[in-house]
Amino acid sequence: MIALGLEQNMAGPRIRNEADPVALEEAALVDQARGGDLAAFSELVRRYERRVYRTARHIVQNDEDAEDVLQEAMLKAFEHLDSFQGNSKFYTWLVRIAVNESLMKLRKRKSDRSVSLDESIETDEEPIVREIAVWDDNPEQRYSQTELREILDKAIDSLKPIFRTVFILRDVEELSTEETAEILGLSIAAVKSRLLRARLQLRERLTRTFKRKGDQILGYV
């Protein structure tokens, strides 16, 4: 189910910083959009459409479904703007809608059995590390932006949904652990555990590409 009332469940003080001109401007845009100003909402769309699309694309893993998610999320946000009361960041509220839409897309693919975020993970299971090698200094500079993007996207796409979704929200979209837990309906411990696993798995995959030439892979003691 789509849950639009995220901010009502989030404890803590109001996040909106009244001294921050960007936050003030955004709050004004949200207020105008809530009053039926479509141009104001269009400006909010322009600000966040790339990030929403990227998040959706990483979860659903194809362009067509990512576009559907983007549209559905923006239309739902516009229609239900009244339920956003400014207790959380607008983007956090928006991305929650997009993540829910993305997960619903995945669940509709009956052939994909690895979708459930509720899949239990033993949080005390030891993380796995196999590849240990020093990276080049700034290895990303060896590649064009397009090549680097392909390398990074391929690595994320290789993760199971339960890991890549947490990684995207925490380390790509830079949401807090608490926000990520709220959005995904997970415990804080589950977010931390899955994030560590995602980071370690990505590190392993990227090590194969970015390791310093001539260095041997060390064995872990």
């Binding site: 039926g36 479509l38 141009a39 516009f78 555990s193 990227l206």
Partner: protein, 89 residues
């Protein structure tokens, strides 16, 4: 004494700098003495940095245009009368 297993278990909190000072100090001591754990920490940190450094790609124009058209249609069904102009951009 921190073992490699202990270090890996705490690595997430260490990367996020959310460990308490005593644990942090013990983990720091461990990576000065254990090259493998230092490499894992360093490459994990670089993994996070390289992803954070990537800006989202521009949305393909047709995708943006279809989105704005869908929004205009939605506005009509919701009875919103204002134009969907992007003059504020």
């Amino acid at each position: 004494m921190v073992t490699c297993k202990d270090f890996l278990r705490e690595l997430g909190e260490y990367l996020d700098e959310t460990t308490d000072p005593a644990t942090r100090s013990a983990l720091e001591k461990h990576i000065t003495e254990c090259p493998n754990c230092w490499v894992v920490f360093d490459t994990c940190k670089k993994t996070i940095q390289v992803y954070k450094g990537m800006d989202p790609q521009p949305l393909p124009d047709p995708v943006h245009e279809r989105l704005m058209k869908a929004l205009e249609r939605k506005a009509v069904t919701l009875g919103v009368k204002e134009d969907c102009s992007e003059a504020k951009a």
